[in-house]
Symmetry: C2
Subunit: 214 residues, 2 copies
């Protein structure tokens, strides 16, 4: 089973690696990182370099497409080469998915016109401006299009996808193997739950060195 994960300059690490960890564990899975050309691709914070094993067009018909997000998605929204490949991959895919602002790319490709979808909580309006109907849920499944909220939500999305592809027992086995029994030390993982001062800190100006990066 071919799983295509398109990378691009400025992708967010966990957006790609969370689903990769889960989906690559499926029996028979072949997960491939792709880019404009084979070779090194830099993450958003410039601290991680992943080697793309080929270019997008090397995998024209993946069974599963996982589009990660990150600041680098913005440059893709009018990149017809990428959008054409996404449209074409979607035409024959079994599942077309995104994590975080990866949904902006699906929307720009015209796949989310009037469709309910999710994205990083800070990008909901932007997703709406591209024709989708943003809803504040962690994983949104509409037919064979599945979108996940920000960054870590890709893990939850991928476990659901594993269930759809290989059944609940296999999805649970993968969850057990990655010991995904989350126990975050705080309960501030969504704007509905985080304290106001924490939300303000994240919304702070880009230039503020006291703001978390990424």
């Amino acid at each position: 089973m071919e799983i295509a994960i398109p990378l691009f300059d400025g992708f967010t690490t966990l957006d790609a690696m969370g689903p990769f960890q889960v989906l690559s564990a499926l029996p028979g899975a072949h997960a491939r990182f792709l880019a404009t050309e084979a070779g090194p691709v830099l993450s958003d914070n410039r601290m991680l370099t992943v080697m793309a094993e080929g270019c997008y067009e090397d995998v024209p018909h993946p069974e599963v497409l996982v589009v990660p997000g990150g600041p680098g998605t913005r440059a893709l929204l009018d990149d017809e080469r990428v959008l054409d490949w996404v449209r074409s991959a979607h035409a024959s895919s079994r599942y077309t998915t995104s994590v975080c602002t990866g949904s902006l790319v699906l929307a720009a490709a015209g796949l989310l016109e009037g469709v309910e979808a999710t994205t990083h909580w800070r990008s909901r309006d932007e997703l709406g401006s591209l024709g989708a109907r943003p809803i504040p849920e962690r994983v949104v499944e509409r037919g064979r299009v599945i979108t996940a909220a920000g960054v870590s939500a890709g893990i939850d999305m991928a476990l659901r996808l594993a269930e759809l592809i290989a059944g609940a027992q296999m999805a649970q086995a993968i969850q057990l193997n990655i010991e995904y029994d989350p126990q975050p030390p705080f309960d501030s993982g969504s704007p509905e739950k985080a304290p106001d001062d924490v939300i303000a800190l994240v919304r702070g100006v880009e230039a503020d060195s006291e703001r978390p990066r990424g």
Copy 2:
């Protein structure tokens, strides 16, 4: 703040990338992937290649050391070059941490002699045989040594570490920025919670193609 993440052939992706996503967001953080030499390093399932930016010895005194796990750790347990570097890095580090079977490396380096620590649930006995006192907890903090359980537990560990380094507000802001509000579709993330048939599937023989990989 230098954060050293040693990679090696056969590391498990999320073990490294979960803490990387969290810790690299700390203001002033410089997270570096290291290996025996600068260049490509293959993950356990051979589907991901990460570029190490330097060799271990290029960062002799990291403030934070994060040792990921994976099948590749076994080759490190008698690799004196790696163990010497770990010992030396620990001597001056602010925090020395591991994810999954990364704790086996800390133990082999002699850092966990008689110390309570955690690891992947399938490797608890092996951790004990290396002199540590394995306990079935997700994150174990003993002084400046912090060990995390399997794979995804590194995210929880790193958020606690972010709190220790930069305070609760910053840790919460990072959690909000990665939208870490986990909603796994199943509750099978630990052997205490997973159904027996799922545990049996994960414990199945290596050669069984129906077993999840990784």
